[in-house]
């Protein structure tokens, strides 16, 4: 029965990674940049949700929307101020700028909201479910997270396939110049990608802190790196890949902790990543790139 318990917590942890990874992978697919500040956008959004529920006692649904809205605006502003001027610069320059933005957001939160962790109240209305006479207990947060993950995945797939903007995104990610020639507004499309990725970050933040209730200025950092790993694991740029990568990463993390070593679980997660990339150099679902000679 422990196995099932671990499976559930692995999948729910992985679902959070997956939603964060979606933000990374969408931005990467379209802007070809690693947005290292993504984890910190999550943190800022979660603070907004926190103050919405505690200080202004707004209902959970409004708090989630507040977080998404805040993240969306933040994402678009960051894109406009810090990344857009660097369009055409080397990817490394953009990477370093993203790191600068990450520093900025963390230190801003530290000054604005202090270093003391806040206990994030769970915004999940359901109670836990007890199965097999109490041997398997699934928390409401875990159920919500998994459901949210599936919902986001389906919604995003439809959006990318059917919606005009979604199609534009695919076009820009395939070939930015060609898309521009076809009359697609590349800047607008990239900004919208940031908006959607960041809105997902808002959801991810609320779910993350509902499940693991500590909120501090560094809350987003490690989940950010893990999700980035998940995105690469699944094949960066691929939406189903981010999903698969996230969930697998969560499961590997929990299972290696349970059955191999709690001390070395992070090392094992990264070791699995390395092995996977050696077998499939562009991740699980990544497109094979054949260089034109």
């Amino acid at each position: 029965m422990s196995f099932l318990n671990y499976l559930i917590s692995g999948v729910s942890l992985g679902s959070i990674y997956a939603i964060i990874a979606l933000g990374y992978t969408m931005v990467y697919g379209i802007a070809k940049m690693l947005n290292f500040a993504h984890g910190d956008v999550i943190m800022i959004g979660t603070y907004f949700a926190y103050f919405a529920t505690t200080s202004h006692s707004l209902p959970p649904a409004i708090a989630v929307i507040a977080a998404m809205l805040c993240c969306t605006i933040l994402g678009v502003v960051i894109e406009f101020l810090a990344y857009r001027p660097l369009r055409g610069a080397t990817s490394l320059a953009v990477l370093i700028t993203a790191i600068g933005v990450s520093f900025f957001l963390q230190n801003f939160a530290l000054i604005r909201w202090g270093s003391s962790p806040k206990n994030f109240p769970s915004l999940v209305p359901f109670d836990k479910v007890s199965l097999f006479g109490g041997d398997l207990i699934i928390s409401g947060e875990a159920i919500t997270t998994m459901l949210a993950c599936i919902f986001v995945m389906i919604g995003l797939s439809f959006f990318i396939k059917k919606n005009k903007l979604g199609k534009a995104m695919r076009a820009v990610s395939e070939d930015r110049e060609a898309a521009q020639l076809m009359g697609i507004n590349v800047n607008y499309t990239i900004a919208m990608t940031f908006a959607i990725g960041s809105a997902l970050a808002g959801i991810a933040g609320v779910l993350l802190c509902s499940m693991y209730p500590t909120l501090s200025p560094t809350t987003g950092a490690m989940p950010g790196i893990k999700a980035f790993t998940a995105a690469v694991f699944g094949g960066i740029g691929s939406i189903p890949g981010a999903m698969l990568g996230g969930i697998l990463l969560g499961m590997i993390e929990i299972f290696s902790r349970a059955y191999i070593s709690t001390q070395l679980s992070d090392a094992i997660v990264f070791a699995v990543l390395i092995v996977v990339l050696l077998v499939r150099p562009t991740g699980l679902l990544g497109k094979k790139i054949r260089e034109k000679v």
Binding site: P85, A93, I225, Q263, D266, F270, E291
Partner: protein, 358 residues
């Protein structure tokens, strides 16, 4: 002498000038202790930046785990140095041996990590270097090393289980890292190491190997079609950089009485990467100057207390935007042109006179 050679000698000159200025100021008692405390770290990070530039700038592979090699060197160096405390009386000699062994250990780690890593490309390569960095940090958190009369003991659980005799000395204590290190690093030693690093890497770049490494960066397929063993040269750059990072690690560890595995995490790797990118890819002098400035800057901002890291991050973003944005480039070029014109006007008569004399 060609331009490359001139460039190299300017770099040596710059380092020596820095050394001399510091020594003169120090002799006059004009240097604050805070600045003196940063001298060795500055040199250490310069070595880190130069060696990372070999990977990122010269070889063109993004590495996010350079600090891992620093940590391998650092902890190896600490163990070696502790073992030699009694047998090698001369501190500089002990330091030199430790640096050498630490560099070799990091180089070996570089070989083991390079073999899988360098088969990948681009961002996938970057994430795997990050992964290796995290793995090494994670493992170092579980390493326990002690020294007693019977020799070296090591284990992965706790210091108590090493079975040392009562006089045993703990060298590495898991997450607590190495404590009670006999400090051996000095500014002079650090400057010598910077010069050695510059010497090795600059000469390497301007040799057959360096040419091959840059050719592979510029166009891998053409390099292969010209008969270059791509893996060999990528490895050469990666392992050389790892070895020098290891030496920097030894220098760093032996400059403090304690060093913890956590120090060499992702953030330190990123810090060094920032130096490299800001200094200019492939530009070793840029790396050196950017490192020195960015190490001193946060210390200068100390009076702003909490706001200093915020200011630091804003400066970082602004500098990146200015140096990489096309419009900013244009504005700057125009400003430079105006200043140049102005000086030309002022200096024109002088030059004319010179010409006339001829």
């Amino acid at each position: 002498m060609n331009r490359g050679a001139v460039n190299s000698f300017v770099n040596y000159g710059l380092v020596l000038a820095f050394y001399l200025i510091v020594q003169i100021l120090r002799a006059n008692g004009d240097l604050s202790r805070a600045f003196q405390a940063q001298l060795v770290p500055i040199c250490v990070y310069i070595i880190m930046a130069i060696s990372l530039n070999l990977v990122v700038g010269i070889s063109g592979e993004l590495s996010l785990g350079h600090a891992a090699f620093m940590s391998v060197g650092a902890f190896t160096g600490v163990v070696v140095s502790t073992m030699l405390v009694d047998s090698v009386a001369s501190t500089p000699l002990r330091l030199a041996i430790s640096i050498l062994v630490g560099g070799i250990a990091a180089g070996i780690a570089g070989i083991f990590i390079g073999i899988p890593v360098l088969r990948l490309h681009g961002d996938y390569l970057a994430i795997v270097t990050l992964a290796f960095g995290e793995i090494i940090k994670n493992i170092l958190n579980t390493v326990y090393v002690g020294l007693d009369s019977t020799g070296l003991h090591y284990g992965m659980t706790s210091i108590n289980e090493l079975g040392m005799d009562s006089a045993g000395k703990t060298i590495i204590n898991g997450p607590m890292g190495a404590m009670g290190i006999d400090k051996a690093s000095t500014f002079t030693a650090a400057i010598i190491m910077v010069l050695i690093t510059l010497f090795a890497i600059q000469n390497m770049i301007r040799s057959r190997s360096g040419r091959a490494i840059m050719a592979i960066r510029d166009n891998r397929i053409a390099a292969e079609a010209s008969g270059l063993n791509v893996m060999k040269y990528k490895m050469m750059a990666f392992v050389t950089a790892a070895a020098f990072a290891g030496m920097a690690g030894v220098l760093y560890a032996l400059n403090y009485s304690t060093v913890v595995p956590k120090k060499f995490d992702f953030n330190t790797s990123i810090l060094v990467l920032v130096f490299v990118v800001l200094g200019g890819l492939g530009n070793l002098r840029g790396s050196m100057i950017a490192t020195a400035v960015l190490i001193i800057l946060p210390e200068m901002l100390r009076e702003y207390q909490l706001y200093r890291m915020l200011i630091y991050s804003i400066i970082l973003i602004v500098v990146m935007l200015i140096t990489n944005n096309e419009r900013a480039h244009a504005i700057k070029d125009r400003l430079v042109a105006i200043v140049e014109d102005y000086f030309k006007k002022i200096l024109a008569p002088i030059f004319r006179r010179k010409g006339g004399a001829k």
